[in-house]
């Protein structure tokens, strides 16, 4: 508990740097990652992240010390080179993108390892922190870096605001973008540069190996919650920042453990929760929807059956006709307990009434059941007219469809078939 209070009260000034740093880093990469996701180029981030290592080492060798500017420009250079090479390989040979990413990623990373061991064995002083870039150590963020990260975030947010529409068009369909005269190459250049910037900032916290999680996972999790890009960007940022802060805290509380793995764990758990619980595409939502559909179908089928009973008695509009549940079962097969449940619900909704053990349609119930039967028969007519289905098959073809047809579709059917009222023919 004490560590937690220490953490949130910024007792240690370092904690302040870490928190603000994580907010900048994770927002940057979540924003960039969402666009990468739209462009179906999530794994390019992986290649870039691994490719920063040799750049950092080169920067170190050139500067002879851990000079932030040198490291950063070294990283930016090799990161950029890696995306260029991936595209080069794909365009100029029969190697496909996934393999090209793997080649660039592992070659650059190997080069980085070679340089890293070269530095370690080369008697440089002040090289201890370089290891942090491998697996991430948020606690190592200092004031200068903080400023850099804030600037990067500002650049990314600024560019997204300025070029929002161009980014979207190029992401979705670069051919179309070209055809309407957008400078696609420049926009892609800008997007790549922003990606490299975001990743270069992120490896401080996540390390090169796990960095691609910051690019890929927030976007994938956010996608479960919204299809609207703006909202998706926002959700991705929230998820990512939350995981970053929690991960930084866990790493702070258990000194010596790297930050990266915890952030990734938390992000993955959020993704899992999104998969189960999201309101749009989650399995929970799907399950609830299936239940709702099932109950709707049951209720409407009962109403339909009662109306058919009316028709058989030639009493289509008679609200005084009563019938027992056994008579409903003669019209249509139902599971008896289901039927009882359905009838009770229909009573609650005011579609039918009960008298002793008999049921009757209310005014509303009559309208509703007519609507359903009508939809069913309209659809039968439509199938007959437009497809090769014959009169023996249209009934089963239309079964279940009446429950889904919306009022707009009903209107269109009416217009197309020229039918008013309920078609008499029932197949």
């Amino acid at each position: 508990m004490q560590t937690f209070i220490d953490f949130i009260s910024f007792k240690d000034p370092n904690v302040f740097y870490v928190v603000i740093g994580m907010i900048c880093i994770n927002s940057s990469s979540a924003l960039i990652g969402s666009f990468a996701y739209l462009r179906k180029r999530s794994l390019i981030g992986d290649a870039v992240a691994h490719s920063l290592l040799p750049g950092i080492c080169l920067g170190f060798i050139m500067a002879g010390e851990k000079n932030m500017i040198y490291l950063f420009f070294g990283a930016f250079f090799t990161g950029w080179l890696s995306t260029y090479l991936v595209d080069y390989i794909v365009n100029k040979s029969k190697i496909k993108q996934d393999a090209a990413i793997g080649i660039v990623l592992s070659s650059f990373f190997a080069l980085g390892i070679v340089l890293l061991t070269f530095i370690q064995n080369g008697g440089y002083s002040d090289q201890g922190g370089l290891n942090h870039f491998l697996f991430g150590q948020a606690a190592a963020i200092n004031k200068d870096e903080l400023i850099l990260f804030a600037v990067i975030l500002a650049v990314i947010v600024g560019s997204i605001i300025l070029f929002y529409r161009s980014f979207i068009i190029v992401s979705f369909n670069s051919d179309y973008a070209k055809s309407i005269g957008l400078p696609v190459r420049s926009i892609e250049f800008l997007m790549t540069s922003l990606t490299v910037l975001a990743i270069a900032a992120g490896i401080q916290a996540l390390g090169v190996v796990l960095m691609s999680a910051l690019i890929v996972t927030p976007a994938a999790a956010a996608r479960f919650w919204s299809h609207k890009l703006k909202r998706m960007l926002f959700i991705a940022v929230v998820f990512s920042v939350f995981s970053g802060l929690l991960g930084a805290y866990i790493s702070y509380a258990n000194s010596n453990t790297p930050t990266g793995p915890w952030v990734v764990m938390i992000l993955s758990i959020i993704t899992l929760i999104s998969f189960v619980g999201s309101t749009k595409r989650g399995i929970l939502a799907r399950y609830l929807k299936a239940r709702k559909n099932k109950s709707k179908i049951l209720l409407e089928n009962i109403l339909k059956a009662i109306y058919h009973y009316h028709e058989r008695q030639n009493l289509e509009n008679d609200l005084n006709l009563v019938l027992a549940s056994a008579e409903i079962l003669k019209v249509r097969r139902f599971d008896t307990t289901e039927l009882q449940k359905g009838l009770n619900q229909l009573i609650r909704r005011g579609f039918i009434g009960r008298e002793n053990n008999n049921y009757f349609l209310t005014e509303e119930g009559m309208t509703e059941s007519k609507r359903i039967v009508r939809l069913h028969r309209l659809w039968e007519q439509y199938l007959l007219k437009r497809t090769s289905m014959d009169i023996f098959h249209v009934h089963s073809g239309a079964e279940a469809i009446e429950h889904i047809l919306s009022p707009e579709i009903e209107k269109e059917l009416e217009k197309e078939l020229g039918i008013v009222g309920i078609p008499k023919e029932d197949f």
Binding site: S388, M389, I404, L405
Partner: protein, 263 residues
């Protein structure tokens, strides 16, 4: 059941993510005929072939081959996929690919024998690729690649051939030679089912037609099928309602058959 029925498709519905792409499609196809499947882009022709081949699981309905389940009849039915479905940069020669037609579930672990080699050579010759026998498939023209696929299917020595757009990217001369090859096969009692796009040529090429647009629009001889009404139903954008309903079904995760609900 009808003795002369090669493929029976019964009330077949196939969905992608909930949206029906083939919907209550129902027909019997006669054996020993060249049969065309036509319909606009996205009308479910490829989906139909894949469902018949068991590559896609139908959400309702079934397929029978010569009145048997597909699993028993695998050896009797050969499939020619769309040309774009594979990566032609694959390091293999024409011979290698045609040889795949001789692969069976049962002989995957065995060495190829001389009969297989003879059959493969013969099929390569039939499609006129003998001089390209050892070429890497990447170095063939589109039409030649298409012929490689046909040769591979021929090498299967099946009774039914399902071909997905075999005439795409093929010049007129090759198209004619492939066609006479198919006619020769038909005359020996084989059944050939072909997805085709060129409405100009359908009545010349096919003995029997299936016109599709998500629903089965019509089936029968070319005269019966190629009526004004059928064609406008299939191609004239008359089925927008159908598409809207399919979309509603997908959005609401609605079951297409009620028995899906009463699990």
């Amino acid at each position: 059941m009808n003795e002369n029925c090669a493929i029976e498709v019964h009330n077949l519905t196939t969905t992608y993510g909930g949206a029906p792409v083939l919907w209550d499609v129902d027909f019997d196809l006669p054996a020993g005929k060249i049969i065309g499947v036509i319909g606009p882009n996205g009308s479910g022709k490829t989906t139909l072939l894949k469902t018949i081949m068991g590559l896609l699981e139908p959400s309702s309905g079934y397929v029978k081959i010569f009145n048997q389940d597909l699993s028993k009849m695998r050896e009797k039915i050969a499939y020619v996929p769309q040309r774009e479905s594979v990566d032609w940069d694959f390091p293999a020669s024409v011979f290698d690919v045609v040889m795949m037609g001789r692969y069976r579930k049962g002989n995957l672990f065995k060495r190829t024998n001389n009969t297989d080699i003879e059959i493969v050579e013969e099929c390569i010759e039939k499609v006129g690729l003998t001089e390209f026998r050892n070429r890497q498939i990447a170095q063939l023209s589109g039409g030649q690649q298409q012929r490689v696929f046909i040769a591979r299917a021929l090498a299967q020595k099946a009774d039914i051939y399902l071909m997905d757009e075999p005439f795409v990217g093929v010049d007129a001369a090759t198209e004619n030679s492939i066609l006479s090859l198919l006619e020769e096969m038909r005359n020996t009692g084989k059944t050939v089912l072909i997805i085709h796009h060129d409405l100009q040529t359908v009545s010349d090429y096919f003995d029997y037609l299936v016109l599709l647009n998500t629903r089965l629009i019509a089936k029968g001889t070319p005269q019966d099928v190629l009526t004004e009404e059928n064609l406008s139903n299939a191609y004239g954008g008359q089925l927008t309602l159908l598409a809207k309903v399919a979309n509603l079904i997908k959005e609401n995760q609605f079951p297409i058959r009620e028995k899906d609900v009463d699990l």
